[in-house]
Amino acid sequence: MLQKREKVLLLKTFQGRTLRIVREHYLRPSVPCNSPLCSQPTVCLNDGKLLSSDVTHYMIPDWKVVQDYFEILEFPELKGIIFMQTACQAVQHQRGRRQYNKLRNLLKDARHDCVPFANEFLQDCYLPREQGESMEKWQTRSIYSAAVWYYHHCQDRMPVIVVTEDEEAVQQYGSETEGVFVISFKNYLDNFWPDLKAAHELCDSILQSRRERENERQESHRKEYPEHLPLEVLEAGIKSGRYIQGILKVNKHRAQIEAFARLQGASSKDSGRVVGILQKNWRDYVVTFPSKEEVQSQGKNAQKILVTPWDYRIPKIRISTQQAEALQDFRVVVRIDSWESTSMYPNGHFVRVLGRIGDLEGEIATILVENSISVAPFSEAQMCEMPVNTPENPWKVSPEEERERKDLRKTHLVFSIDPKGCEDVDDTLSVRTLSNGNLELGVHIADVTHFVAPNSYSDIEARTRATTYYLADRRYDMLPSILSADLCSLLGGVDRYAVSVLWELDKTSYEIKKVWYGRTIIRSAYKLFYEAAQELLDGNFSVIDDIPEFRDLDEKSRQAKLEELVWAVRKLTDIARHVRAKRHGALELEGVEVRIQLDEKKNICDLIPKQPLEVHETVAECMILANHWVAKKIWESFPHQALLRQHPPPHQEFFSELRECAKAKGFFIDTRSNKTLADSLDNANDPSDPIVNRLLRSMATHAMSNALYFSTGSCAEEEFHHYGLALDKYTHFTSPIRRYSDIIVHRLLMAAISKDKKMESKENLFSNKDLEELCRHINNRNRAAQRSQKRSTELFQCMYFKDKDQETEDRCISDGVIYSMRTNGVLVFIPRFGIKGAAYLKNKDGLVISCGPDSHSEWKPGSLQRFQNKITSTTTGGESVTFHLFDHVTVRISVQASRCHSDTIRLEIISNKPYMIPDTELFHQSSLLLKSDLVKEVTRSVEEAQLAQEVKVNVIQEDCEKYCQTKGRSLYTLLEEIRDLALLDVSNSHGI
């Protein structure tokens, strides 16, 4: 039975009158206490997360502590935290939505040991505010009395510590109740977590920055910026149309002077002024402290230091710290606290150190933090959920699963085709003839969802990561390796769970007659690699010695088995050709031309450029087919909450640059549809210069929009279309080991199957709103993954060229192709290294480039003239040189070092003639070959440097494993990735 109380609020209206508002407040006899020590579990009805039982005390932060030290409370080491409702509400009212959402997410996060407690709704805890009592006092009093109740509720078995910043409260309540202690936060950290250094540092820096802020508030400053409008005014203004709401995008290259606001709906380009902020997008920032000389120039006040963020778009941040000198050579993470209108710069506080400037590990960590990627090792709780598979205790197929799943182990010839040495095999194929003469094609995907239960720790972790991150030299897995490399990986000769799609095809026309989806058990017979499969396809059987499965067979059975396999591969290829022919207008944007080869130690020992084999296409086509059919299935079953992938058609005006460039070479590009675009790109091939076609394709991809995940409930059906693949519905189903979206799709498919069987679905599906939110998260993480991959590649490029003497080193001079014109320079692509960058024709002193008779360039006074397809530089002496689109020039590559930001590659044209390479073989090597070389070289030098520092022999071995992680993935996934990547901004638009 609820008890009714009334709360009286006195509010002031805009006219200045006082308004008396009476609100009801209901109290209940019990609320969930979420403690395992609960004395009346039948009354409390705890469900959801409980505090862990192995803590020594419970900690209850006061409202002020929650507001100010929230970041420290977020530390996973701090356990047994109870957030009182009073404190949560204080955060909501005083710190705004952003901080409150952080708190909500923390409370929801199963990995963090903290619970909410609704003290204000509990009869025994609620204290009405007394006449004349200040809000702050009342909040502290409520929290203390709730703490006392909680202590007694747990039968006095667990000491409770109330942590407060209010000295009076410590005095007043400190010794009032036995077992309930009231201490200050600093005291608490000192006594209970003396070893948690990071927390202490953070606490100091928060304290200091708060003190600064208070000081500042006392001094009255001149206003540097006009004050932003309050939220209510903004909301009213937006409603009335006086203000326009948009998302601010700051120009990366001219951050101080140029920013665009992306508006919803409106397309007019007006200039405007930011009048207020509805929602801030603050994150952690990587910064660099100024060097010693700069510190001195900043004046005597050495406690306040301006640090420079790594991101060009972020202004300098003012930090209060005494460690400035010690942190000079490090990359450091800071957070912004506030930005007063009286201050030029925002105030922040120091959070943690990442690593030394210029050090590979530090720089990689920088890239990760800047993209908000967190890659902590998998926690113990997650590993505990994992199934066991050791030699003593091998994993087996369980009998229950055997009953429920379709058993394909005896009936189907299942095999996988992947790059050599790949260890996470998520897809396998099968094809066979049915008794009625029809064919049956099967795609079998690793059943990850069987091992990863929804909302388990590993599921939450995988959802947070959303994808496996591949950097230039390493990868960060989405799932623990016991799953990704072992139990979920469909290796040859072992029983594995799979989710299969089986199609019945007509024997001659390959029309799809029937399709079956479901869970299966398979045993992959062969783990082929691409080249071997291609050889089999071509009828060259000498490769069978390379296939381990054939080795131990006698001649006769080997022959029979071989024939069976060859038939299957051929049939598969045949089917794939037909399926592909039916899909008109798919774009082949940038062909894959690498083969990754790994040696026994999983080092990348070779990357051989190669024309794509037909087998690649076959496998890819089967995967696309499976994805397409699964997309159809889940959309039919759940029209409002299926996760699909769309690729909207590009805007025609974006193609104008492509068309103009192609015209310069005499080609015509028809961009009206994906089919015509694909055809005309195929035709635009200059036999004398293969790079032209490559550049045109990359321009085409530049014009494309990104492919995105979305929830079908939030989009009209026409918008589901996938432009690049020319399919009406598409999703990702085939790589659940490395993409979270696929895990969701698997769950949807399983729910769709049980829906068909009229069974109550066990799975708790996401609603459209939640799914939309999740899609946004996954898309966002995918972009972060791509950005960090690109960034890390650039990092390696820079490290490769950094210490080379430009004048003497041969490799710093290379051939480049001009692919775009700018007002003061050209954009150059260097095929040998795959680098794109700007080369200036006019330097900072206003001199322009000129090329003498020997074609070597010099800087002379003069002027530049830019046309559509060429740029002419004329010196005052009358000499002129013209650079055309697609001209080959010789460039020198150098690195522009930067202390606070990432290093950048600088290109300088040293001759307007193509660079002649003595060794012709080198010329043919693809850029990617050198990229892997480059990664190896850089990691090697880093290792050497480390070795020199710490002379330990075993370090080498570790490093070897650490830096040379496998890149083994199926080529299909690689192709998919490059397709995705291609849809992103590849030709990094260097603003000149």
Partner: protein, 245 residues
Amino acid sequence: MAGLELLSDQGYRVDGRRAGELRKIQARMGVFAQADGSAYIEQGNTKALAVVYGPHEIRGSRARALPDRALVNCQYSSATFSTGERKRRPHGDRKSCEMGLQLRQTFEAAILTQLHPRSQIDIYVQVLQADGGTYAACVNAATLAVLDAGVPMRDFVCACSAGFVDGTPLADLSHVEEAAGGPQLALALLPASGQIALLEMDARLHEDHLEQVLEAAARAARDVHALLDRVVRQHVREASVLLGD
């Protein structure tokens, strides 16, 4: 202050109720001796007074009389002091006219009007304090008053409102929840038969959700019925004790 959180992650509403819980209801019948029937109800802080006269002869123009059934005349008004800011509300403004019409429709469906042809039944409702769910409070008060007057009805008419926040239907919205601007549905139910006397909603709500909101409102209306039933029985017991003496 950030936007109010109407339903917390722990499942509590602003005033501490859970999604399906009603506000506290208190009611009394027979509060005025002069009228044929009267009742007073408090639903949370919403307070309403209902008075019933009739059935009696048609007042005013005879032409209004219906040959086969009684005329139900409903008038709604709200006190100047019913909201936070004092505001004069003249009779016959659009809002009270609309409310009167809705009440009339509701009670024409519930009262057995054909038993009293060519006569009139007057229902006057006044809201003394408005804190959300005024329609529901008016209907519930009027039901008690009609019962008090002894006018034959098919069944109780029990009304309750329901809203929809974050995928969860909320029963019996308070003023704070109403003011947040989400969809609100008002339902008047004849609980025994489950028939709907009146259903009103003037916001956009996805078709898929309508059923669950309706379900929540109906469940709340049944809860209201249980309470009103207890009030009526109590009143009858008291009255019979008085008569018996």
